[in-house]
Every structure is written in C-alpha cells, then in structure tokens.
Symmetry: C3
Subunit: 284 residues, 3 copies
C-alpha cells in the first residue's frame, strides 16, 4: 500500500484519501462525452467519494501499442494503489474478453484482453486475472458498442466498493501480447519497434536508454536508422539546440527510451514511420 | 434524491458526497481557459466543496442541436441530483434570456433560452423556469461576451449554496425548441434529423432504435438513405466487421438511436451530411 | 487569504477546503499523459488531499507570450490562495532557472524564468523569488527533458505541504520579461502587441479597453489597423451581428483588451498576424 494512502489529521485521526480511478482511452477530444459517461457511471455506483483522473484520451484510435506505452510510462507517477480502466479496442464486438487484473501492490487493471496488458503490468507482479461476467454488477442494458460504460466502469466501481476480484467472474485465459517488435541487440545494431509518435513527429522507440552506455553510443556519434526501405542518419546524445534546423538527433526521452527527432521538423515524416512497425539502428 | 447521494461511513455517520455541477460548452480544446474561468468562479462562490465535471466542450461551435444530443444521451449516466450549465449560444448579445430550470428530481439546468432545452429535460419533468436577473448574485462587471462566467456560473453557485430558484428572477417565457426535424414514420419510410456526427464521420440520427423492431428492419436488409439530393444504400443491423472496406451500414448506436457508418470511411462525406438537416430512410 | 477558504459546517466546525493547484502548459491534447504525470506526482507527494485544476494546456507550443495572456486574464477568476505551475519553455535545457514566486496574497507561481512571469504577478505584489534547487525535495532521477514533472511538481507539493519558499533555494536573479511590445499612445494612434489569437482567428491585443473612452473611439468609427506591411480598416465598438459577412470589427473582449475580428472570417488571416508581433491602430 502506498505510504501516503492513509494520513492523520491535526488531531491524529486517520484521514482516508479518496480512492483513485484512472482512465486511458482513444475517445479523443471529440469523444469527451463518452468520458463523461464513464465518470458518471463510476460516481453513481461508488459508495464513497472517489477521485477519477485521466491518463489520456489521446491514444491514436485503436492503437493498443501506443496505449501500452502511455500506461507503462505514466503508471509509475500515479498515486497507488489505484484502479486503471483502459478502453482501446479494435475488436469491439469480437470474441476477446473484458478482464480485470490484480497486482501485488493492490492495483487493478480493467480492459479488453486484446494485447493492452501483455507487457504491463509485468507477469511477476500479477496475482489474478478474471473475466468480467457477473451480471449482478453490470449495467442492465448492455449496448454492443460501449462496453467501457456498461461493463468496465461498473466493475471498477464494484472493486472500489470492496468487491473481491474473484466475484467478477471466472479465471481468464492468458493475457494477449500485442505485436510491437521486441528489442534485439547485435554487434553493430539494435532492432526494436515504434512505441509512439508525439505531436511534433518525434519517434519514441521501445529501445531502453540504458543501451546508450551499454553499446557505447557516445555523444556526437552518427548512426543509421532504418524504417521499412528508408534509411537516414541521426546524431547521438545531443539536444535540438545543438544542431541546425533540420538536424536529425537520437536522444534519451523523458520515459527513458531512445527517441528520434528532427530540429523544427518531423522524424516520423522523414522516416515514414508508423506506430508498431520495426525500427533498426546500425553503426560502425 | 439520488439514493447514493447520502451515505454512511463505517461508524454509521452520514457522509455527504460533494454537490455535482456539470459543464457542457462549445469552447473547444483551445478554449480550455474559458472553462477554467467558469470552474474558478463556481469554486470561489460555493460555500462547500463541490465537484465540477465536464460533459463535453467539443460541441460543434454554436450547434444547439448537437449540444441537445450530448445532454440528452449523457445525462442518464450522471450523478443526480446535479446542476448542469450549458454554454452554447449562437445568439450571444441577442435578446434571448439566460434561464434556470428545475426538474422533479431536484436537478437544475442553466443556459440560454435558445433551443438547447426545448426537448430535454422533458416538459413533464420541469417544475419551474426562471430568467436569471437577480443582480445580487451576478458577478459585478458583466461582460457582453462571456455570460457563462458572469451570469451562469454565479447562478449555479447560488443554487448549490441553497438559494431557491424563485430568487433568481421572474418566470420565463416558454422554452424555445431548436429546428431539428421531428421523426415521422410512414408505410415504407421514416424521416428524421441528423443529431450529431462523430470523429469518424458516423451519422447519429434522432430516429429511435426501437424502430428496428417496430418496422421489421431485419438484419441484412438493404435500405435507401436520402440527405438532400443524395441517396445511398445501407445494410441494416450489421457491424463494421461484417462488411468489407467501404461497406455502408445502419445500426443501433450506444445512445439507442439509428446511426449510419461506412467501414473505414465517412458516412457524413458519402451523404454530404450536416448536423440538423433532414434525413430519410426508405425500403421496399 | 480568500474569504471562502475557511468555512464552517452545520455544527460550526471549521472545514478546510482542499488546497488549489493550477496547471498551465503547452502540452496540447496529445500531451495529456504528461499532464497525468504532473498530477500524479503532486498527488503522490501531497500529504493532504489537494485539488488540481487546469488553466489550459492549449498554449501555442513555446509561446511564453500567450501563456502570460492566459495566466493574467484567468487568474482573477481562480480560487485563491493557490499554487500555479507554468510549463511553457522554449529554452528547455538552456541556462534559465526554474523559480518559485510568492505574492502578498499567499499565492505561489512556479515555472521557468523565461519571460512568463515578467508582467504577472505584478512587481508590487511579489514578496520573494527563489531558484528551485533543494535536492531533497526533487524527484531523484531528474530527466533533462521533463522538468515540469521532476522539479516543478515536487516543489508545488512541498509548498502545499507547508514548506517555506526560502527552503526551495537561493534568491533568484530578476524575472525575465518577454518581448511582447508595450502599449504606446499617440495623438492619433496607439501601438501594442498581439497577445493571443483564438480558434476563430480573432486577434487579442494588449491594448486595454479603457482606451476606447480615453481616446474617444466611439461606436461606428472606422480605424486603420497595421500589422507588418498590411493595413486594413476595422469598425469600432460594434458586434459581429451588426455587420455583414466579412465585416471587420474592433471591440472589447471578455478580458477587457481590444480585439479584432471578422464576421465569419479570420482577422489573423486578413492581417497575417502572429502572436507577439507589433500592431498599430490609427484614426483621423
């Protein structure tokens, strides 16, 4: 349990901070009223006041891979223990289950078993995974097209109210893993996948920053970067202010992954990059 | 009163959940600082802590019809009783009044009398409608261009603080109804209006889903859809995954209205549709 | 101290409203997960529950001038005393300091010393400015690219927890002032700068509305407006509904500055205007 979860007030009385519920969706700004419906259902059903926060609703539509990136890199900064709901689902209406995961730290993760939870939370942390099927806790009229509101939100409220995860439904099949390419390191290269692309066209890879030291990519070294049939040169370990306009740099991002950027330009355009595709770094 | 509004804590003491105030505007993401001003004024004036939530700020600018759609379809999922403020107003500076509505369930609705409240809340629920005129509760310097902040937000805070609606001002003229075409059902057709268009170009009509059964639009049946001079064929009651790329489908949306969509395409583009215009479905 | 900050409940017991922390950034909608990280760090570190609100995250990327506009015009409507964090920083990684400012009303302002705080809060209100350097309160692994999360958020939480500003670090150099042109009034002209441009292309200047009276710009008077090499005529003191489509008007905006707009058009396009550039109004 998070050390800050329970506090004492001036008179030594224990104050309970509100329960935390976090939302991560691909509804976009235009889908804000769907977020309102999720929040409303949770607030109607929670017996005590809870605090509902947004991780982001700006996931590229249906991108389970980018959703994993946002979840994995943001979660360490959230107040824990908490309940996270993820509504990013290219397979709405298909046969994948809606599941709830419990980890060792008392956190719950709710969403479709479609690859979003394949890498995070890590397998060593997970203690139970259940299919959400208990009709008693679901909103009565279950629409085929909004399972977030009708299944996930009521399940989150039930867990916040103290229901044990076993009561949600039977044990789940193994969690799906999405198709983001794994990182592989060779003598003079490393390959991985594109985890995300930000609003400026910077490319975030899944290659950990620790590699910079490990493979001796010292500052100023020029490496080749390949995405599909395109190859471009990028300079290591410098910042945008160190290069001229159009300068191409590879650097450690705030999430401690290698990122590629172009000063006042777009690395994603230069490399014709898309989320989820393989990326290859080579050097001499 | 909502059954969850009052709760008891572990010691049986009654806990008061915070008052709910909901915002619905067309400020857009770029107008977020206007939302901050609304929230700030409410938080300054509320004597007790209140909870301010966003229904959406993504209403198409000035679209009273889309605002009605968002309000009508989202409200059933919100924690009630609550106060809703709607700031969507093509007639800023014109002669329509700013009104407050009270319904039988203890909810209040605040906004311009410009058609936003003509269908929801329903007439049978409304027990009082007042023009907000009481100078004592308004922010002193009333700007001609931001009545949301200077009239509506202070009125909402006053109601949250326990003021009775009669003290806001005199009874209002009848509530305006906006120009969304009504639904009419014939032997082999139904006409209605376009309530909203989502980020993917799906068209949401005001034709209730119950019609599917009533008029025997069974799954797989092809119907003709007319908007203006354009007519296109759509297949009934199937999902996107049932048709190929470009396939045109009519289905029941999460708000229980008929919706039109194109698999990986835009129904709004295909039909050159705009919010508020008439739409006609015909079949043999 | 704000008169509403302390309240008494039904039994006369003093209720403490939650501490207010406001965020102002240029993260955009796509950067919402960065906002989640700021909020999460604050919520982890605050000993009591606090209320975190968004001023806006829609600042034009790196525009210190527009950020100043949003801060200056929104702050009067916020619940005070509060802590404001501003993360808008074209010079990330450069040598400017991260500072904390305390004003006479008990408010704190945290952000880079890069021109954002040069005009607001006003010098007469400021009682202390410190460089945030105390390693004990900072998040341990300080990333070069996200000082908002790793320096500013922990400093805000520390102040909310009661730390005195002197403990954050040594006194700061004078606050930088950004390059927005100052207002100058002549016999038949006034010059100033462009503070902001809204989603409709309306131009917000830094010329105060009081000028309308002072220089006798009566309703209906036509004035010349110059931006760079472009000059256009605008009509004073009327609203959009008073002119035909394409009509160009100068009016008092909701922030009490002169604004320029085009009915169903964009003043920013007509004048090829950008935030921060000089603007000149002339009349006969």
């Amino acid at each position: 349990m998070h050390p800050l979860k329970k506090n004492t007030d001036e008179k030594g009385k224990i104050c309970q901070l509100p329960k935390m519920i976090y939302l991560l969706t691909d509804f976009g700004f235009e889908g804000q009223y769907y977020v309102a419906q999720l929040r409303g259902v949770i607030q109607k059903l929670c017996l005590e006041d809870c605090k509902i926060e947004d991780i982001t609703h700006a996931v590229v539509p249906f991108s389970v891979i980018q959703a994993e990136y946002f979840l994995m890199t943001t979660f360490p900064y959230l107040r824990s223990p908490c309940i996270v709901i993820v509504v990013v689902d290219p397979g709405v209406g298909s046969s994948r289950d809606i599941v709830a995961i419990k980890d060792k730290d008392g956190n719950y993760f709710i969403g479709p078993n479609n690859g979003i939870f394949g890498r995070f939370p890590s397998k060593s942390k997970i203690i139970d995974v259940r299919i959400i099927q208990n009709q008693k806790i679901l909103t009565t009229s279950v629409s085929a097209t909004f399972q977030g509101r009708d299944i996930m939100a009521p399940a989150a409220a039930a867990l916040a109210n103290g229901l044990s995860i076993e009561e949600l439904g039977p044990p789940s099949k193994p969690l799906q893993v999405n198709k983001l390419p794994d990182v592989k390191i060779g003598a003079k290269f490393v390959t991985g996948g594109i985890y995300s692309i930000d609003a400026f066209g910077n490319i975030i890879t899944n290659i950990p920053a620790t590699l910079f030291k490990e493979i001796n990519l010292e500052e100023g070294k020029v490496i080749h970067v390949q995405v599909g049939y395109i190859q471009e040169d990028f300079t290591c370990g410098v910042t945008f202010s160190d290069v001229e306009k159009g300068g191409q740099v590879v650097y450690v991002g705030s999430a401690q992954f290698l990122e590629l950027g172009v000063n006042r330009g777009s690395a994603a355009m230069v490399l014709q990059a898309k989320i989820g595709v393989p990326i290859r770094l080579l050097w001499e």
